[in-house]
């Protein structure tokens, strides 16, 4: 991470004061407008914020999440403006990543009365993070799950167990009386605007979708589980750990998560229909002819929708979207200098943002005098946790009629596994491994 702590000018958050967002609830986070790259992979054109919140009840104060270590000064300055350390009874960690726990050790030192509340999946991470030394006072914390509550006197914090958004430890905290959802990284984005609230900030829709695409998308099925807990809440305001505080029509953002997490192709396929995408590269048309024959074979199986694409004719990103909603993926490449063609690797190295679990993979290609590409692609597919149920198909130079029949059989075999390996059926363990052994004649 690059660091910067100079606050942007012209907003309510400039002066290192806390900002009230609901009765007795303050933002005490930090602005980081100079940041351009987050965690090596995410880019941001105007920095980010680390949002931390303070909730005051009749019997004490809770701090919800903190900020990264380099910006601890701003955080403590804002906190001191609205509370004394000896009033802090509760520290909630919705997520233990260092961008939200950097200031935690110092906060625990300054607020010795505070009890830590973390999700039940966060214990190991907390210990790794704080690395308690023998001479430290023993680390005490309370683990909580969905429905557990802590009362601050007239203010109730209720926890929602929402794991894997985007770490195992993540949870959300619901402030019952005010209808405020402290959502952690969920509904967050890297967008820094000192005006803080979504209705006052510039247009950040792009940043919101970008954040989802890179952080939440690989965990879609957990997003869906979390939405089941979040959607029924009478939400007045969403307070995430990054980016604008969502007070104007907060439900829009919940709806957006629902849209982004709903499989798009499923609606267009007939009930139970499965989908196979074939991508290929071809220098002299041989691998292309193989691809077409594989499609013909697969379609003979029925109950399957097959799409065929020449990788040379498209950009990687839209193809990644297609793969996300497909059930199976077949890749064809000639072998060039002992390797598969570069666009194949470009595509395969772009798939970490999607959940590939349970998809089938297959590889094929024609070759001149060495044909390593097919095996290399298969290995990579397995590395990505795809099942490779049908051994890769290699054909030397131009396919003959017989060899084209082999391609059709390959397509039929792949489609057959896809259609018959459906829900409720018993799959043989051997099918989950590759079938190469028998095909290699070993």
């Amino acid at each position: 991470m690059t660091t910067s702590s100079s606050a942007a000018a012209g907003g309510p958050a400039d002066d290192c004061g806390a900002v009230e967002l609901a009765a007795g609830v303050h933002w005490i986070g930090a602005l980081d407008p100079g940041l351009r790259t987050f965690d090596l992979i995410l880019r941001t054109a105007n920095g980010t914020t680390y949002n931390s919140y303070l909730v005051r009840g009749d019997d004490g104060v809770a701090v919800i999440d903190t900020v990264k270590a380099e910006l601890a000064h701003d955080f403590f300055a804002r906190l001191e403006g609205v509370a004394r350390y000896d009033e802090i009874r509760v520290i909630v960690l919705n997520h233990l990543e260092p961008d939200h726990t950097g200031a935690l050790p110092e906060l625990m030192r300054r607020a010795p009365r505070a009890q830590l509340y973390i999700s039940k999946r966060a214990t190991a991470m907390l210990k790794a993070l704080l690395k308690p030394r023998d001479d430290d006072r023993p680390l005490t914390y309370q683990t909580v799950g969905t429905g557990d509550e802590v009362s601050l006197g007239g203010r109730t914090l209720r926890f929602l167990h929402t794991p894997f958004l985007h770490w195992p430890d993540t949870q959300c905290t619901w402030l019952v009386e005010e209808g405020v959802l402290f959502s952690g990284d969920v509904f967050g984005c890297h967008h820094c605007d000192a005006r803080l609230f979504n209705d006052a900030c510039g247009d950040f829709r792009f940043a919101f979708d970008y954040y989802y695409a890179h952080i939440m998308r690989p965990f879609k099925r957990y997003v869906v589980e979390a939405l089941k807990l979040i959607e029924p809440l009478p939400i007045k305001l969403i307070a995430p750990t990054h980016g604008p505080i969502l007070r104007d029509r907060p439900r829009r953002y919940v709806t957006r998560y629902r849209e982004l997490s709903t499989p798009s192709l499923a609606e267009r396929l007939d009930q139970g229909e499965r989908s196979l995408i074939i991508f290929y590269m071809s220098a002299y048309g041989s691998t292309a002819r193989m691809a077409e024959a594989i499609r013909t074979g697969a379609e003979e199986e029925g109950g399957i929708r097959v799409s065929l694409y020449d990788l040379e004719g498209g950009e990687t990103q839209p193809f990644v979207d297609l793969i996300e909603s497909a059930d199976a993926l077949a890749l064809g490449s000639p072998t060039i200098n002992g390797d598969a063609a570069k666009p194949i690797w470009d595509l395969l190295s772009s798939l970490t943002v999607i959940d590939l679990g349970g998809k089938l993979g297959a590889a094929f290609g024609s070759y001149g005098w060495s044909g390593e590409a097919v095996r290399m692609i298969e290995d990579r597919l397995r590395g990505l946790k795809l099942r490779v149920p049908v051994a890769g198909l290699r054909i030397k130079l131009i396919p003959t009629d017989e060899e084209l029949e082999e391609c059709r059989a390959f397509g039929r075999a792949l489609a057959g596994t896809l259609v018959r390996g459906g829900r409720g059926r018993v799959v043989e363990f051997a099918e989950l491994q590759s079938a190469t052994i028998e095909n290699l004649g070993v």
Partner: protein, 94 residues
């Protein structure tokens, strides 16, 4: 070799495996929702809940017991990267 059936209830899939197979070897390829971290019994990420056939998995080791305790495992939770399948069972992500 003795066989056993493991069912991943989140995706309604059953796999017939040789006895002694680790759950991790099956769950990823079949696309079940259990998520893995360290893959060596240390981080607790892969915690799963055993719905049926609790006694048909190998006994947890002392180390696994410790990780389960640290992660507030409830009764019948196991680490999918550690447990080996001995007989029929049904599991889902914890």
């Amino acid at each position: 070799m003795a066989k056993a059936k493991i069912t991943f209830t989140d995706i309604e899939q059953t796999v017939n495996v040789p006895a002694g197979t680790r759950v991790i070897e099956v769950s990823e390829r079949i696309g079940a929702g259990i998520i893995y971290g360290c893959r060596e019994g240390d981080c607790g990420t892969c915690m799963m809940h055993v719905e049926e056939g609790w006694n048909n998995l190998t006994e947890p080791s002392v180390l696994e017991e410790k990780v389960l305790r640290e992660n507030m495992a409830s009764r019948h939770d196991r680490l999918a990267c550690q447990a080996q399948i001995l007989g029929d069972c049904k599991v889902k992500p914890a």
